[in-house]
């Protein structure tokens, strides 16, 4: 395995208590906040995401790394704000109306955050109108819809339609146990992912296509 930067490695190992000091060290060595985020922290989460995808680690271990990343961001955020650095991409995600299943959706949101996408999570049982409102307000490049019930799949169709009817330029990706690629195509969504690991790849692909 490649030798990682100590900060990157600390994120990978989830050493929450150490990352703050390591970030400070990097800053003192003259590295910019933006570069620390992009070149030290995000690669750490990418490694963790990859390990998870390869079934080498479990979600609890991934969350430990995510918490370490959060700890580092606490130090960096004020500096990033001053420097005007923002995540390049924003996503709005939620479980559609009538549906309360959210474990899968939460995992997708977490993976997207790890890939340095700003994620606005609308929660569960989200009406189409609320998605539309949120897209107008936050101007994301990506919308993620989740549904676990066969009886809420139609709400997914309605939500895609509502967003399209407003002429909002945003990529829509959908997922959930009963969802298929065919269904995504049928209702006019731009993408589908069967799991949280590939949801990152799908997002990045769609975002690249927008860029």
């Amino acid at each position: 395995m490649n030798e990682q930067h100590p900060l990157t490695q600390a994120v990978v190992d989830g050493r929450r208590k150490e990352v703050g000091a390591l970030v400070t060290q990097c800053l003192e060595a003259g590295e910019s906040a933006g570069s620390i985020l992009e070149n030290r922290l995000v690669p750490g989460m990418m490694i963790v995401g990859e390990r998870f995808k390869q079934n080498e680690i479990f979600v609890p271990e991934m969350l430990i790394a995510a918490r370490a990343m959060k700890e580092a961001l606490k130090v960096l955020e004020p500096l990033l704000l001053v420097a005007g650095v923002k995540p390049e991409h924003t996503a709005v995600i939620g479980t559609v109306e009538g549906d309360l299943h959210d474990i899968g959706k939460n995992l997708v949101a977490m993976m997207w955050k790890g890939a340095n996408i700003e994620v606005i999570d609308l929660g569960v049982n989200v009406p189409a109108a609320k998605f539309v409102e949120s897209v107008k307000q936050h101007k994301p490049q990506l919308v993620g819809l989740s549904a676990l019930l066969t009886t809420t799949m139609p709400a997914m169709r309605d939500t895609v339609k509502a967003i399209r009817d407003e002429g909002l330029a945003v990529k829509i990706v959908i997922g959930g146990a009963p969802i298929t690629r065919e269904f995504a195509r049928e209702i006019g969504a731009d993408g589908y992912s069967p799991d949280a690991g590939s949801a990152v790849d799908t997002a990045i692909e769609l975002l690249r296509a927008t860029a």
Binding site: F58, D102, I103, G123, P154, P178
Partner: protein
């Protein structure tokens, strides 16, 4: 604890088709009295449920019940349990749920007249309380509508009342994805226990009023969520198995409040509950892969009294409509078990051994629910002095059983999971002895935007 001793002490007696306290239905089925019955559950294909689609919804259920019962009669089923598990809009609008319950009861009546097929309806309104965030557990429109549906269906002739209740779940999902045993114990043995007691006391009042039976609950939202997450490689299987052991403490409360079984199908913790209470249990395994995957398709049958498919969509398969196909599969599964029983105790035990042996060594969840493990876990529960202590003790026992079996080469565990034995042991060792101290600690950690302590008689 209400139960202080076991109804079944000998693992070989924790067996399919027989329970010390059988349930007699109005149509004359004796569940747990020597025959395993098929229990069919079904759901809608992709479609919306609203006033406009209700005619189509009705048509689906008419088609399901006629097709499935017709096949059951052709195959000479000794009797069937029909479970109607509602979808959220059907509980929110109890009139819709009730209408469908009546369609099913009518279909059952018609088949009884036509062919003499015995049947009984298990009514399982889904628990909508968490539509409110944070959930209101004891009041509000979701609670009122749910009780109205229970009451209406009991009056209409649904003889068995069940629910997959969700009290405490608002904190449990988070505990699962964090691999947090203390959080799981708090959700199940403190919050879950309190909500179960409140809910099932209310349900028992309804059952008494209409002369029907409270059947039982399931920790589906807890234990099956963990099991499915483990199947998807999200959390360790050993962790999911230990969580399963803890769920038994919570699901037991329904029986303490008057439920008599058959326990609800997706409660994989049911073998532990059967050992404690002696009531019959529904189980599901290989024939419920249509709903979700599990690592114990055969073993789950080892002590079932009804054998279920969990849920299947009303879609067309090559053999026919899916519920009809699943009815057939369940009936053949049951025939085999009933034939073994017909050959005497030894034959039944042989089949029970095969069910167990074919799964137990391959997965910790299966191992923990074998008759031997179930009795050992049940014993720890009845020997405890509180639900919290029972939860901690049963988790310890589960870790001990798994570790021992792994050490002796009797159980396969993935290498990356082995370290979790120590992690879980350490987490359990760090728990305070005193329940009030534990509650204080967990309340301090709990995300208050997600749950309301007063809904569980806890001070914020």
């Amino acid at each position: 604890m209400h139960y202080k001793s076991l109804a079944i002490e000998d693992p070989s007696e924790l067996i399919f088709g027989i329970s010390p306290k059988p349930v007699l239905t109005r149509s004359g089925m004796v569940i747990g009295g020597g025959t395993v019955y098929p229990e069919l559950n079904f759901t809608l294909p992709p479609m919306k449920i609203d006033a406009g689609t209700m005619p189509e919804v009705r048509h689906n259920y008419e088609q399901i019940i006629a097709g499935a019962l017709g096949r059951a009669a052709e195959l000479d089923a000794p009797g069937v349990v029909i479970e109607f598990e509602t979808l959220p809009p059907m509980t929110e609008h109890p009139a819709w749920g009730l209408e469908i319950a009546k369609i099913l009861l009518e279909g059952m009546q018609q088949e009884a007249c036509r062919s003499g097929l015995k049947s009984v309806l298990r009514m399982t309104p889904n628990d909508n309380r968490e539509f409110e965030r944070p959930p209101l557990m004891r009041r509000g429109r979701y609670w009122d509508a749910m009780l109205e549906l229970f009451e209406g269906s009991a009056a209409a002739g649904a003889e068995l009342l069940s629910i997959e209740s969700v009290g405490g779940k608002e904190l449990h999902d988070e505990a699962l994805v964090n691999g947090d045993l203390a959080g799981s114990l708090f959700s199940l043995c403190i919050l879950g226990e309190r909500d179960m007691r409140f809910l099932w006391t209310n349900l028992q009042t309804i059952a008494d009023k209409h002369g029907v039976k409270c059947a039982g609950d399931t920790a589906c939202g807890f234990g099956n969520t963990a099991m499915v997450l483990a199947e998807q490689k999200m959390i360790p299987r050993v962790f999911a198995a230990v969580v399963r052991a803890i769920t038994a403490v919570r699901s037991l409360v329904a029986y303490e409040c008057g439920a008599v079984g058959p326990g609800k199908d997706c409660g994989y913790e049911n073998p532990i509950l059967k050992a404690i209470t002696g009531y019959p249990m529904a189980m599901e395994g290989k024939t419920s892969a249509c709903a979700h995957l599990s690592p114990m398709g055969n073993l789950a049958a080892a002590c079932c009294d009804t054998w279920s498919n969990e849920s299947v969509q009303n879609i067309k398969l090559l053999g026919g409509m899916a519920p009809t196909c699943y009815m057939e599969q369940l009936i053949y599964d049951c025939r085999l078990m009933n034939t073994a029983r017909g050959h005497g105790k030894e034959s039944a035990r042989q089949l029970q051994r095969w069910f167990v042996e074919s799964d137990a060594a391959l997965d910790p969840q299966a191992f923990i629910l074998s008759p031997e493990s179930s009795v050992a876990l049940a014993r720890v529960i009845v020997n405890s002095d509180s639900y919290y202590h029972a939860g901690v003790a049963v988790a310890r026992k589960a870790v001990e059983l798994l570790r021992e079996a792994y050490g002796q080469g009797k159980l396969h565990i993935e290498p990356k999971e082995v370290a979790w034995f120590d992690t879980m042991q350490d987490d359990l060792d760090e728990l305070p002895e005193s329940e009030s101290e534990f509650i204080g600690r967990q309340l301090a950690l709990a995300d208050r935007s997600r749950f309301l302590p007063q809904e569980y008689e806890l001070k914020g």
